[in-house]
Amino acid sequence: MNYFAFIVKSALFNFSRSKGRTFLTSLGILIGVMAVVLLTAFGLGLKKYINDQFQSLGTNVIRIMPGKVLSGGSFNGSSIGSIRFDEKDVNNLKRIRNLESVAPIYTKSIAVDAGKKKEDATLYSTSAEIFNILNFNAQSGKIFDKTDVDKRNKIAVIGPKIADKLFGSGDLALGKNIKIDSQSFKVTGVLESKGGGGFGGPDLDALVFIPYKTGFVFNTDKKFFIITAKGKENISLDTVKQQIQTVLLKRYKEDEFSVLEQTEILKAVTSIFDVLNMVLVAIAAISLVVGGIGIMNIMYVTVTEKIKEIGIRRALGAKKNDILFQFLVEAVILSVFGGLLGLGLSFFIILLIQKIFPAYIDAQAVLLALGVSTLIGVVFGVFPAKQAADLSPIDAIRYE
């Protein structure tokens, strides 16, 4: 039997002799690792979810909003400006040849009334180009076009969730009338699902689109809060943004509007989650430290119980470092055992909740959990182990 096998066998014997104590000590690390891993999984899941939602809306989408919305990469809520865009701005922007589509959006929260049933939704009063910009396609019927907008047709293209809840299915919804604020609209199209559940941001499957000129019945001052646009495929977004900037500067001051890329907004949103998640994980890490103190405590007890054994080993030729290493290995095994259990339990919990929450775990989180539990074993094991190694051989062997 080699050196390492001898040392591991000593540690394992100790654990098998005091199973309860071993488990309770590991429990501290188990809970700590589980807290860190689960919170990381939630954070990663949420970030991935938001990322996927943004991706599904297309990546070369530009949003033009009033005020300086982003400053230094994060949201700046206080300075959302007071200007609103109008049709003249839309027409000016349409002259930019590098833009494929431009769509103004007037949006409000509404209740959709189908006679028997009512459903909450978000109204998008916009132009036909919005469907191209946001990658929306119809699963039944068709999306509205420029003629519908110009003729102020009282029609609506609704999200699949609204169709399902009010009429049972997309096909059944076609041709039916819905009422929004006592105005009647005919459903001419139902959109394909974008998926997702509705964490952070509007539910993309519960939108109601109407032609913006028809929408002037709600939007009486004919102003828009957002204009979305899509650059042409092979033109850099920076160029397009610059051109938009130039056009708008003719009417507005520089700090009265923002031209944002989808990715900038994405970065700002995820940076908020990153900070939040870091704080949560830091709090969870405190429980790891508490677990480590538990290990230190039990290792001091173990050293006291084994003083005689330490003396015997020293008499047979063990060096200080041999003793130090023996107790360090024991502490690390204890800690990694707890870490592995915590990781296993976390996997199980993540599997269970994945149906309702998009939590997921990556290799990095697993390695981190194992690395941290090993480190805790070493850090909190080293003091008791040092105490064991520094015992004088004669005092140790005489100890009863």
């Binding site: 039997m1 080699n2 050196y3 001898f6 066998k9 000593s10 014997f13 100790n14 002799r17 005689k308 054994e309 015997i312 080993r313 020293r314 008499a315 047979l316 030729g317 063990a318 060096k319 200080k320 470092n321 041999d322 004088s392 051989p393 004669i394 062997i397």
Partner: protein, 221 residues
């Protein structure tokens, strides 16, 4: 091979200084079978711990093969205990979590040099010689005291040390088993020419060895 020169050992005890060893001068020659005899509290165990390099003198010097022990660091002391000295204790001091075979092999774990010796084979030969081959995979608490002491002697021999130190090796055994153990130690001295130092308070054991060192109140008389 071992020489103690003007060795003193003092401990602090209840605010005063207790002198365990007073000006000890002792030379143990290679191949000798020496018994250190004295009543309990005479300092004979302290003396053995000095010879066994487990303890350091307060004053004086210990030489092993003319090498000054005070010049040697803790790791080198450990190596000397590992390779040069084999210990046999009154309470056997086997590790209960290791099998008989593993206990015998324990000192080899701490030999960190390359060695061509097949320790496994040597351990089995020793166990067989002491009549414990059937028990090689048993644990120490499953065998008798006499058998445990034989395991301890096998463990003391595994590194083929020049010096065997036995501290009251028969103290925890009945007289018949004690005689067997003494016979074993005598054989090791006579047939294998090993240097043996045995600490005892039993005059009948002292009669069986060639040289007796008597110690009372920390002094050799």
């Amino acid at each position: 091979m071992i020489k103690l020169k003007n060795v003193w050992k003092e401990y602090p005890l209840d605010g005063t200084v207790f002198t365990a060893l007073k000006d000890i001068n002792l030379t143990i020659k290679s191949g000798e079978f020496t018994s250190i005899m004295g009543p309990s509290g005479s300092g004979k165990s302290t003396l053995m711990h000095m010879v066994g390099l487990l303890d350091k003198p307060s004053k004086g010097e210990i030489f092993i093969d003319n090498k000054k022990i005070s010049d040697v660091n803790d790791n080198q002391l450990s190596d000397l205990r590992n390779e040069y000295i084999g210990f046999v204790f009154q309470q056997f001091n086997l590790l209960n979590k290791l099998t008989i075979l593993e206990n015998v092999l324990l000192p080899t774990v701490y030999l960190r040099k390359k060695s061509n010796i097949d320790f496994q084979k040597r351990a089995l030969e020793l166990i067989d010689r002491f009549g414990l081959y059937e028990k090689r995979h048993s644990y120490p608490n499953k065998i008798s005291g006499g058998q445990q002491q034989r395991v301890a002697i096998a463990r003391a021999l595994i590194m083929d040390p020049k010096l065997i130190l036995a501290d009251e090796p028969t103290g925890n055994l009945d007289s018949k088993t004690g005689k067997e153990i003494m016979k074993l130690l005598t054989e090791l001295n006579e047939k294998e020419k090993r240097t043996i130092v045995i600490v005892t308070h039993d005059p009948s054991i002292a009669e069986q060895v060639e040289r007796v060192v008597r110690i009372i109140d920390g002094q050799i008389i």
